[in-house]
């Protein structure tokens, strides 16, 4: 029969004392906590009523933050995130998610050029049922045909989230040619309903 090597005192003593492993892990987690502290200092939180979303700290707010809407934008790219309350849920006049998607698509189609809805699907946002709308449009910032700006294809992903009597819209847009998938995913996963 083969005896096990360590039966007693294996945690505090022996050739490979276990406490050293535990200390190593604790030190690593303290360093990890420090990294988290420094990293979260590089992000900002946008809060609109009962919804919050995190975005990179270097992004700026092009307009004044309001009680019902807030937009943050990356000046180095076309990326932006906008959080707003687009309506209240009225039990007397119920709306379906399809109605909300249609209204949002109509609004975007009016405000942009060559707007196309790419896909819509039911998703979960912070454990709440929501609808995701993927779309694209052309942004032509030039006011004259002689200016040097080339029209850009902008891709956007919107989330419509009914929550506690209100309908929240989280809209992320970025240049389709330099789409930052990890930034989008992080912003999406940082959405919190309070």
């Amino acid at each position: 029969m083969i005896n096990t090597k360590k039966s007693t005192g294996w945690f505090w003593s022996g050739e490979e004392p276990e406490w050293l492993v535990v200390i190593t892990v604790l030190v690593a987690l303290v360093i990890g906590g420090l990294v988290m502290y420094l990293a979260t200092g590089r992000t900002q939180t946008a809060r609109v009523n009962k919804l919050s979303v995190r975005y990179p700290a270097q992004w700026v707010l092009p307009g004044e933050a309001q009680a019902t809407s807030l937009e943050a934008q990356d000046l180095a790219s076309q990326a932006s995130v906008r959080v707003s309350i687009v309506g209240n849920l009225d039990p007397a006049a119920p709306v379906t998610m399809e109605d909300l998607v249609t209204m949002r698509a109509f609004e975007l189609a009016q405000a942009t050029e060559l707007f196309r809805v790419l896909a819509t699907k039911a998703v979960q946002v912070d454990a709440q049922a929501a609808t995701e709308i993927s779309y694209a449009f052309v942004l032509d910032s030039a006011v004259s045909s002689y200016l040097n700006a080339v029209p850009k294809v902008i891709r956007g992903v919107d989330y419509l989230v009914p929550y506690q009597g209100q309908i929240y819209l989280i809209s992320y847009q970025d240049d389709a040619n330099s789409w930052q998938q990890n930034v989008f995913e992080q912003i999406r996963s940082s959405i919190k309903l309070h």
Binding site: I2, N3, K5, L29, R54
Partner: protein
Amino acid sequence: MSDPIEHEHTSEKIEPIHPEHAPYAINRNRSSFWTSNAIVMALVIVFALLVQLAASWLDITLGPSGMLAASIVLTVIPVALWMTAFYLLDRDEPEPRTYVLGILLLGGFAALTVGNPIVRNLFRVQEWIGLTPWYVQLLASVFIVGFVQEYCKYAVVRYTIFFNREFDERIDGIIYGAAAGLGFGSILAVQHLIQAGGAQLGVAAVRIAITTLAQASFGGFTGYFIGRAKFDNMGKWWLPAGLSLAALLNGLVTWILGEVSTQGLAFTPLYSLVAAGVTALVVFTFLAFQTGRLARMQSL
């Protein structure tokens, strides 16, 4: 000219702690384990590719409830493949299947109750890691994700089967470590897919294959250090160093896997599958080489 094996023998003392441990019993480089492992890795990759191919033909996208059911089915398949191949091919002195299965389930339990909650709920890594520069992402991958995940697998093996008499070969550390990693990776993959709120079936199959392959490799790597700690006098820093190396490997590969599949709008999970396959191949080849080297050294 001196024999390289002899040279290695003089530079590193490998002595069994207990005389009653016959060298042949703890040294064997069980070739059947490596064969079964290689076959399973190849099968997992082929399985993921087949599901993706079928899904692209059928254009299947699943919602949250469908994803839960599909994830469970897709996750059970790599586990079943591993267990089946392992027991069909490892006939030299197979580990008791109840123990291997138990460690695998414990690995999954550790992911569910400790690993994922610490990473996602305590450190909330998913909320900020992608908004930071690459070096911060790498540091977080190593010091938070790597250390938490590897310590979970380490604890599953070290605090349970390590003290059992069935843990009687160095390679058992790798076997049980890989089993813990496979269980851990399976639960991690299912939780990831559920939290994502659904995905295309093909993408889900590839993601499950990536996670299970990578986590089983990391687990095997961690297990190597545990196996040697039991039978060789490696010094008091062996296990902390081994766990740190495994965490570094985990963090580095996790970061690379996230980077290689995303380029702008294009999301190509197959790149990550290739990267995970290469990782598993490199890690297990390294472990097979090390185990073989030890066996040769002690047989002299």
